[in-house]
């Protein structure tokens, strides 16, 4: 794992941060549980036409529907693949049901298992253990759910490998130029996903001189992240607590945008490929 010098600016442009940290074939986690989903960063990954990524995320949400539909992903590790409060993710379904734009390998879990897998990754353990998956048909759909016996009581428990992304990307409310990161509200699994990864890219609503962090709201110190990028609105159409609300109307409209392949591709052309990165370049 890269250990960066703390008192050095890690401020990058979005395009530089993605280009320097994400390569074709990487396993990439873009986390944020409904809140603070790093959409701007995912759009830059799409613009840079990354291929063969293993995408990891508990709730693929619209963000991975877009990345799957544009052909960035060859594998998905996930636990709930719907459009929250709306219904299906049509690009995800089209990939699974019809292999469009190409085959998508699935490694499917429950939330409890994924959360434990990230936790084990952050803790430097080889696997996560949980009381779960009993009688569940997910067992056997891939080789990463197994059962072990507790060495003390003999109880049968489920185990999955630690989740260790090559790169984790998160969006936060604030950071400073050194890369200390503050998150408030629904904190999800971002801290674990970041600490489990080899490289960490953080986009933030604001880069500030003083985080004004209360005792517990700075979730990552500068020396565990590789790049920080100021991207106001970088979580839209999800939300940033204290900055802007969730764009529920967009989540609803996504259903008809994504349902049709050509409509989807038009939307991506107009709103991602032709749209410049939404942050100023840093000299």
């Amino acid at each position: 794992m890269t250990r960066a010098v703390p008192r050095q600016s890690k401020v990058k442009s979005l395009s530089d941060a993605i280009a320097a940290n994400i390569a074709d074939g990487d396993s990439v986690s873009l986390e944020g549980f409904t809140h603070l989903i790093p959409f701007a960063a995912s759009h830059e990954i799409i613009r840079q036409q990354r291929k063969n990524l293993t995408l990891i995320r508990m709730t693929p949400d619209i963000i991975y529907d877009q990345m799957i539909g544009t052909g960035c992903a060859s594998k998905l590790i996930f636990s709930w693949g719907g459009n929250p409060g709306v219904g299906s993710l049509h690009r995800f379904r089209d990939a699974v049901e019809n292999a469009w734009p190409h085959q998508l390998e699935l490694e499917e879990h429950s939330h409890a298992a994924m959360a434990s897998g990230y936790d084990a990754g952050a803790a430097g353990l080889p696997f996560a253990v949980l009381r779960g998956y009993q009688g569940n048909d997910l067992v056997g759909t891939h080789s990463n759910i197994k059962f072990i016996n507790c060495p003390f009581s003999g109880e049968s428990l489920a185990a999955i490998p630690a989740i260790r992304p090559e790169v984790t990307v998160i969006h936060a409310q604030r950071g400073d130029k050194f890369g200390n990161v503050l998150i408030e509200g629904i904190i999800g699994v971002q801290k674990q996903a970041a600490l489990a990864a080899n490289r960490v890219v953080v986009t933030v609503e604001e880069i500030v001189d003083d985080l004004k962090a209360s005792s517990n709201s700075c979730i990552l110190p500068s020396w565990v992240i590789n790049a920080i990028v100021e991207v106001p609105g970088g979580a839209k159409p999800s939300y940033a607590f204290g900055y802007y609300p969730r764009d529920n109307e967009f989540y609803k409209s996504w259903d008809s945008i994504a349902r049709d392949r050509s409509h989807f591709l038009e939307w991506v052309q107009d709103n991602v490929l032709s749209a410049p990165a939404k942050n100023v370049d840093v000299a």
Partner: protein
């Protein structure tokens, strides 16, 4: 005179009544969320709601569209990380009732939210597990609220996402699961509860005006009825007013009709 009400309204009100007061409830989004919040509003202050996004003791004024809406966090006693939620609060055995919906359910309360058809060549790919498998195994007991039809109440589910009573009887215990599992299904037609020993769901209460035949027609397995069948009490005015007010507030906030969440 009792007020007019819809089958959906009675379903939600009955599910809320069954939750009672003073229980700690892990809430799924959609119909369970409406019922659990109605219970919190009408049954008393001691109904504790927890959502998997990490919100402990949340008291949303409107129903959330997603499991992680800002409203859930802003009105919560505290918000914890997702790993803490699943490991300490759910797996730790601190939840009384898990409140779930389902795409498909069978007579032993096993739930499918993963695929229709074969896993590797699905006819319809559904969202998947989310928190449900461990909600179903770690909560003291599980309530299910869903509309009844032959498509959803099936003889054989295509995929067990959340284990109920398996093949019936003591199947849970044989797998080392020590919680009670599904104990209640409330639909827009009736209430079902597991029969003693077999743990097969049988009808224990019919909603007013609903005939046995109608429920059998809406069920994909050979539905059985308890020896003594009650009639579900219609919603009283207070419950109905609270539910409609909740949906109206939700509609004003989300710009939706607010009736299905």
């Amino acid at each position: 005179m009792a007020p007019d009400y819809s089958p959906d309204e009675l379903m939600t009100v009955e599910a809320a009544r069954r939750l009672g007061n003073g229980r700690i409830c892990f809430v799924g989004i959609g119909l369970p969320s409406a019922a659990a919040n109605l219970a919190r509003i009408t049954n008393g202050a001691d109904t504790v709601l927890i959502y998997e996004s990490g919100t402990l003791e949340t008291k949303p004024d409107t129903l959330p569209l997603s499991i992680g809406d800002g409203e859930l966090c802003e009105t919560a006693l505290s918000t914890v990380s997702v790993p803490e939620m699943f490991r300490y609060w759910l797996q730790g055995g601190r939840i009384d009732v898990g409140f779930l919906g389902a795409a498909q359910i069978d007579k032993f309360g096993n739930i499918n939210t993963t695929v229709i058809g074969a896993y590797n060549a699905p006819k319809t790919r559904l969202p998947g597990a989310g928190g449900a498998p461990e909600i179903a195994s770690a909560c003291g007991e599980v309530f299910v609220v869903m509309r009844q039809s032959r498509r959803s109440f099936v003889d054989h589910i295509d995929f067990i996402t959340s284990f109920g009573h398996g093949d019936g009887g003591d199947h849970r215990q044989r797998l080392g699961i020590h919680t009670a599992g599904p104990q209640l299904i409330v639909t827009d037609l009736c209430v079902m509860e597991p029969e003693e020993n077999t743990n097969e769901f049988v009808v224990t209460s019919l909603h007013p005006g609903v005939e046995k035949e109608q429920v059998s027609q809406a069920t994909g397995w050979r539905l059985r009825f308890a020896d003594k069948i009650a009639t579900t009490p219609p919603p009283d005015e207070k419950d109905l007013f609270a539910l409609r007010d909740l949906h109206a507030r939700t509609a004003r906030t989300h710009g939706a009709d607010g009736t299905d969440s």
